[in-house]
Amino acid sequence: MLSDLLREHDRVLSLSEFFCFTTDFGGRIAQAFAPEPVDAAQLWRLLAGAHPKQSTMLRHGVGIPEMLYRPGPSTRFSAETGVPALMQTTLPHLTPDAEALFSEVEVFVAGLPPAPMADHYARLFAWLTARFGKRIWVERSGGSLRVVRRLVQAFPGARFVHLVRDGRACAQSMSRHYGFRMALTAMQLTEILGVDPYESSDRAFIGDVPDDLVPFLPEAFDGEAFRRWETALPLCGHYWSGEITAGVRELASLPGDRVLTMRYEDFLADPERSLSRLAAFFGPEYVDDAWVRAAAPKVRTAAAKPESLGAAEQRALDDACRPGFAALAALYPEHASWA
């Protein structure tokens, strides 16, 4: 939602899901934020690589709404070739002719000297910002609290917008989302096997993998089983609490003027006010009433309904989300309703 709203702003470049796909749903965090200098070819492999988790999903017809590039008979990339990380969402989100932009980015990246990833990102984002005639860029990826410490280090001058949603609704949304499903099943398989099964063929501990997780191994991937498998709500609730607890700790270490925390529910209740706050946080020159008026009607209504759960399930979900709510309440005591 936020990326779509920002894309309409005259001065803001909306970089959508860049880190979601370059980290391959969190499986390549170390590579995506490598501190040592990497050359242009290495950088391009990360940006333009068809990463294994995304490619597996694509081959088995498991898409997510965020994946804007739709392979077809006339497209450059297909399920067989895999879709480059940049092409999943980030570039198609910016222009209808994403393939042409991809070629432009390739030329730009080829000319970059070896540098740490953070420097590469800064140059690339600045180039894209200029390319689209914007003033600032805003990167937004689902679940990016996981890499917030890396982001703080990589972008020491950046400001952060933390859009928080009720953990219970968030968990319901996560449980149905194939991207989170991939991340959470891969996370379990990784700890059992001692390696990320999408990055390594080492199967020394395959005997420890429970039967119900076998269809999510890349070599046995079953798209139907993946679609059927509902990620347990308490698992998503615990995950949410973990992300919030760790994320707000990182954000709390930043000066107050570098962090804006907004509630998703406030966005829904009063989009104009929330959009105005957001623009003001970017700077006075980004306050744009016309943008607010145009964007506000596009704020969607939340789909998840926490109250539709049974009592036991609700209790388990409440328990799982409690640490996250407590962390938010400690940081933002003015919001008594966090807890």
Binding site: G26, G27, R28, I29, A30, R146, V147, R149, R150, L184, M187, Q188, T190, E191, I192, G194, V195, D196, E199, S200, D202, A204, F205, G207, D208, V209, P210, D211, V214, A232, P234, L235, H238, Y239, S241, G242, T245, A246, A316, D319, A320, P323
Partner: protein
């Protein structure tokens, strides 16, 4: 007072021609008038390799190993397994000299005729069948049956062709299935089992009892752990599987919500007072070989710990070793929270080790051993932690390629 009564198994009639024994079982250990030949299956495995090492240590016999080739030849696999075992157990056996007394025949108990001809092996005196699948998940049901049941049938047929006078079958104390209380050294009936593995071992025992004549010994080790002195092991199921499951679970939870398990005690569905029967690998091998060399009668022998520690103490020791708060013990699954239930699911295979209050009677084993037993089976919390720490260090090396979580 030790119960000296010996329970004799009602064995079926002899079905193989009896030949002159190459080794006189009536003689004491120090008198070996002739050299015997032992055929060993599973010799690259935990118990099998230890038995070979013990045979080479206690006797001057020859050993023929039936080993599966894999990425490496059968000879290489066995040589590596024996060398590894000798190092792990600080054995005084001279490995090159010991290997010179061994002959490796490439074969596979899952293949017709074990994939060998009797001529390629020659005449043997005793067969030790320890090859087994230790898997347990449903998806391995066919493999477990093919190896443990059909494989045993094939090894029995081979033993007959080779004129073996004794058949030593390495089973498990957990053929007891869901029975509790005192478990006697007796054949098992068709009682309830917990998983495919236990079922396969029950069936294999029954096949062994009914198919082979001259002398059948069924050895039932309990949870085999590392060497009593060095603590080292060479394969990692049972106790090590439990430790590994907990390490994996802790890792999963940490990736999901760092520190959660450090703040919140897990509930475990176990009876903390029930014993957990850990027995060192060297004790298992020594007792099995000693019994096989003695005048002991046919039948079942429990190679188990006579004084097993309580599972509650063992579990607390393992949790403490992993820097987790002490677990809370519950008997009812309804008392488990969502997170507890997820770990509980992962313990399905270990359920029979950790929930049932059972004591393994060792009357026949003790009688066969003539009362010779060391004190190397006592496990207190620090010894359990030492076992666990040794494995944990190894496991951490094996898990060094874990990607970062954030």
């Amino acid at each position: 007072m030790r119960n000296r009564a010996v329970t004799l198994i009602d064995m079926p009639p002899v079905c193989l021609p009896r030949s002159e024994p190459a080794f006189d079982f009536r003689l004491g250990h120090d008198l070996e008038p002739t050299v015997s030949t032992h055929l060993v299956t599973g010799a690259t495995g935990f118990v099998g390799a230890a038995i070979v090492l013990e045979l080479l240590s206690q006797t001057s016999d020859r050993v023929v190993v039936l080993a599966r080739p894999g990425a490496k030849t059968a000879e290489t696999r066995f040589a590596e397994a024996l060398t590894h075992a000798a190092e792990a157990y600080a054995s005084w056996v001279d490995v090159p000299a010991a290997l010179a007394r061994c002959r490796v025949v490439a074969g596979d108990v899952a293949m017709d005729g074990c994939g060998v001809t009797s001529a390629s092996i020659g005449r043997v005196t005793q067969v030790w069948h320890s090859a087994a699948s230790l898997r347990y998940e449903d998806r391995y049901a066919d493999e477990i049956r093919a190896t443990n049941v059909d494989g045993t049938r094939r090894v029995l047929e081979l033993a007959g062709e080779l004129g073996a006078e004794s058949f030593n079958y390495v089973s498990t104390a957990y053929v007891a299935g869901r029975r509790t209380g005192v478990i006697r050294e007796q054949p098992v009936d068709e009682g309830e089992v917990n998983n495919h593995y236990e079922r396969s071992k029950v069936d294999a025992e029954n096949i062994v009892r009914s198919a082979f004549g001259p002398r059948v010994r069924i050895f039932r080790p309990s949870i085999v752990v590392g060497h009593s002195k060095t603590l080292e092991a060479t394969t990692f199921t049972g106790f090590y599987g439990f430790v590994r499951q907990l390490v994996q679970f802790r890792g999963m939870v940490n990736r999901m919500q760092a520190g959660l398990l450090e703040r919140q005690s897990l509930r475990l569905r176990i009876d903390p007072e029930a014993p957990i029967n850990l027995v060192p690998i060297d004790v298992v091998a020594r007792e099995a070989v000693t019994i096989a060399r003695s005048a002991a009668s046919d039948g079942v022998y429990h190679l188990t710990n006579p004084s097993p520690p309580p599972i509650g103490m063992a579990a607390r020791a393992v949790f403490d070793m992993l820097e987790l708060p002490p677990p809370i013990f519950v008997r009812d699954a309804a008392k488990l929270e969502w997170l507890d239930a997820r770990f509980d699911e992962r313990l399905d295979f270990y359920r029979s080790y950790i929930t049932a209050d059972r004591r393994f009677d060792r009357s026949r084993t003790d009688a066969a051993l003539g009362g010779e037993r060391g004190d190397d089976t006592a496990y207190d919390a620090s010894r359990i932690q030492a076992l666990g720490r040794w494995y944990l260090a190894r496991l951490e090396r094996e898990r060094r390629n874990l990607p970062v979580a954030r």
